[in-house]
């Protein structure tokens, strides 16, 4: 009797020692921390996208590693980054040191992501960004590869390319308006929320628009959280603009669209309006945001074979269209693939596999460039342009752009009141 006790206790001690010495062996699940402002739409997107991906993978039996298959376990990390940046850093530290997450996905507010990135890198945790568009996050990878190689970005596209798409959309609308309404020289009012990410867009617009044969009639920079822009709108109407080139990421996008539609300002609104990417936009503007055109990541068109199925599942499950923070769906899938290829949970082995990613994702073909940023371009991830048309957010671009048209794309519609204003 006593002997058996002895054997058991030796075995137990042995197991204990082994499990302490080789934690990777003992891992029976892959923990992915989903970090985002969980009380807000952005964080919900992070969580929902990751949930879908994790469920899919687990249904298939999990991630194959060696001859074991590990299920994915998601850990919700509320960064509260909108309200407090130290809170965000505490949250990520908690996830790494207490919950022992292996990987991290998410992040939104650039000021907070820059700090969280540092913490993740210090701990050599792979951190896949799905929300912050600033180029600096990825430039760091190039500047100091050994430290920052664990950072990747899946969504949205880098703000440099965002600008490119922005101008393509503007050019498209300008062409349509000039043709249909016989306007010899299109006048553009630039309205951008006052934020650093919007500054280069304003600068480039002022420089480029005259080259594109358009005239800039003025630049307005309301606060990102302005609750009333009627003053700006009156001024825009006075300036005689035909197109309003918008750059919004915050609530001002709703305010602007609502008051623009209510006042029937005779100029088409084109550009970036993050709020207009959400299904809730229609209700929030009381339908007044009709005909707003914005850059988007997802649209219910055939970007790749996976898009429509993903879009429908997502909307059915969460009663909301996926916006770019739901890119965590892609992030988790990419991660799972890379783990299988590397056959290890060691980040240093996974990073090279991540770099080789070439995946027909839901938002386009996903390939990382040398800064670990998502590659933009025809036949890669292109982003899409969506316009609200009577309660539905329709894809209007790419339409015969570089030979690309996603199945289901419809032509752009000029707001009827703008047509009326010029037909007189």
């Amino acid at each position: 009797m006593k002997k058996r006790h002895m054997v058991w206790s030796i075995l137990a001690v042995f197991w204990f020692v082994v499990s302490i010495c080789f934690p990777a062996w003992a891992a029976d699940e892959i923990k992915i921390g989903v970090i985002g402002p969980m009380q807000f739409t952005q964080g919900e997107g992070h969580w929902n996208g990751a949930t879908l991906a994790a469920e899919e993978i687990n249904k298939k039996g999990g991630v194959q590693m060696g001859n074991a298959s590990l299920p994915i376990k998601l850990i919700k990390v509320d960064s509260n980054e909108f309200l407090s940046v130290p809170d965000a850093t505490n949250a990520i530290e908690l996830a790494i040191s207490r919950h022992n997450v292996h990987f991290l996905v998410g992040g939104f507010r650039t000021e907070a992501v820059l700090v969280m990135q540092d913490i993740a890198m210090d701990n050599k945790k792979i951190f896949i960004g799905c929300g912050a568009a600033h180029p600096k996050l990825c430039e760091r990878v190039k500047e100091d590869y050994d430290t920052y190689k664990y950072w990747f970005r899946v969504t949205p596209i880098n703000s440099r390319f965002l600008v490119k798409v922005d101008f393509i959309l503007l050019g498209m609308v300008a062409k349509i308006m000039a043709k249909q309404l016989n306007i010899p020289k299109i006048k553009v009012a630039i309205v951008a929320e006052k934020a650093v990410w919007a500054d280069p867009i304003v600068g480039i617009a002022q420089k480029n628009l005259p080259k594109m044969g358009m005239e800039v009639v003025g630049v307005w920079r309301p606060s990102p959280v302005a609750t009333d822009v009627t003053a700006e709108l009156s001024a825009i109407q006075q300036s005689g603009a035909n197109i309003i080139f918008t750059t919004f990421s915050s609530s001002v996008g709703i305010t602007f669209a609502k008051q623009w539609g209510e006042l029937k300002v005779p100029a088409a609104a084109v550009g970036i309006n993050v709020e207009a990417q959400k299904d809730g936009f229609w209700a929030a503007t009381g339908g007044k945001g009709n005909y707003t055109l914005t850059i988007n990541t997802y649209a219910r068109v055939k970007i790749t074979d996976a898009t429509i199925a993903f879009f429908d599942t997502y909307r059915k499950r969460f009663k909301e269209a996926p916006n770019y923070t739901a890119g965590t769906y892609e992030a988790v899938h990419i991660l799972a693939d890379a783990i299988e290829k590397a056959d290890s949970l060691d980040p240093d082995k996974i990073v090279p596999m991540m770099e080789k990613t070439d995946r027909m994702g839901t938002a386009g073909r996903l390939v990382f460039d040398e800064t670990h940023d998502v590659t933009w371009g025809p036949r890669y991830v292109t982003a899409v342009g969506t316009q609200w048309q009577n309660g539905k957010n329709m894809c209007v671009w790419p339409l015969n752009w570089e030979g690309i048209t996603y199945e289901g794309t419809v032509p752009y519609v000029i707001p009827p009141w703008v047509v009326d204003a010029y037909k007189k």
Binding site: F40, T230, E232, E262, G286
Partner: protein, 289 residues
């Protein structure tokens, strides 16, 4: 351009004035710096949203109900959290901040950080001297002016208004004259919250609702009451229009800097205070002289 400035300034100024008057009232009567004042304004907006969106009420029913509900709620909050610690000035301050946080967080839990909206009561817009103004804005202006006039009538012509003003002027003497100071303070809390709620009801169809919408008006409101002179109704009124016009002027004169409108308005407040430390119409209070 001038028409634009005048019309937009008037609308914004009236909403600010409504907020500032309520705040001024409770400060004057009970010496409470009520940080939660604009939280009540936000609460009214959300009540209307709920009534309209979930309970299918007509906005004309939802609005008065919301105003009333906020008034009652404010009195309950006052009785529970503020009245017991009235003598401790710092504690009252924190209590109102914490109260505002509670309201904000409760709304955040209930509605999430989504941006919500209520459709306008009347559609369309009018053109006044070449400026497009939505009917909703005009309605807001009318209601705001009426509410301002109503508040003035209430304060000047009713017995309760007289009691409020008397208490505001000198608490101790009012008490000696047989006025129940505690009851007056409680009623003032309810009334001031209701005036804030009216402002909330006015902006609901114009603005975007989110659980942080109380911050900007709070700062502007505080600046206005300081500019106008604490506890002075006239000051709040004039101050509100000064600040609103300052904001609108910035938007029109320096479109590139329209994000600076808040900063500029606050700078004006500081400049005025440098010249007149007690604000435009401030009365030096007995105990603070």
């Amino acid at each position: 351009m001038i028409q634009n400035i005048v019309i937009n300034g008037l609308i914004n100024g009236s909403i600010y004035a409504l907020l500032a008057i309520g705040f001024s009232l409770i400060f004057g009567v009970a010496r409470i710096v009520n940080i939660a004042h604009t939280a009540f304004y936000m609460l009214a907006a959300y009540f209307i949203y709920v009534g309209f969106q979930y309970l299918g009420m007509s906005p004309y029913v939802a609005m008065p109900l919301a105003v009333l509900a906020v008034g009652v709620l404010a009195i309950i909050c006052y009785k529970l959290f503020i009245d017991p610690i009235r003598e401790h000035e710092a504690a009252v301050l924190i209590a109102t901040i914490a109260l505002a946080m509670v309201i904000q967080e409760a709304l955040l839990i209930g509605f999430g950080g989504h941006y919500l909206g209520v459709p306008p009561l009347i559609q369309g817009y009018a053109e006044i001297v070449g400026v497009k103004v939505t009917y909703q804005h005009l309605l807001a202006l009318t209601v705001a002016l009426m509410a301002l006039f109503g508040s003035w009538l209430f304060l000047m012509k009713t017995k309760l208004g007289l009691a409020l003003r008397a208490t505001a002027q000198d608490r101790e003497v009012a008490n000696l004259m047989g006025m129940n100071e505690a009851r007056v303070a409680m009623l003032t809390m309810g009334i001031s919250a209701m005036i804030a709620a009216i402002a909330g009801a006015i902006v609901v169809p114009l603005f975007v609702l989110d659980p942080h919408m109380w911050m900007h008006p709070l700062i502007m409101m505080l600046a206005i009451v300081v500019l106008g002179g604490l506890g002075s109704m006239k000051g709040s009124f004039v101050g509100a229009y000064i600040m609103a016009f300052a904001e609108v002027l910035v938007v029109f004169m320096v479109p590139m800097g329209s994000f600076l409108k808040g900063s500029v308005a606050l700078s004006i407040m500081i400049v005025v205070l440098l010249i007149r430390p007690e604000g435009l119409f401030g009365i030096a209070f007995e105990e603070e002289r």
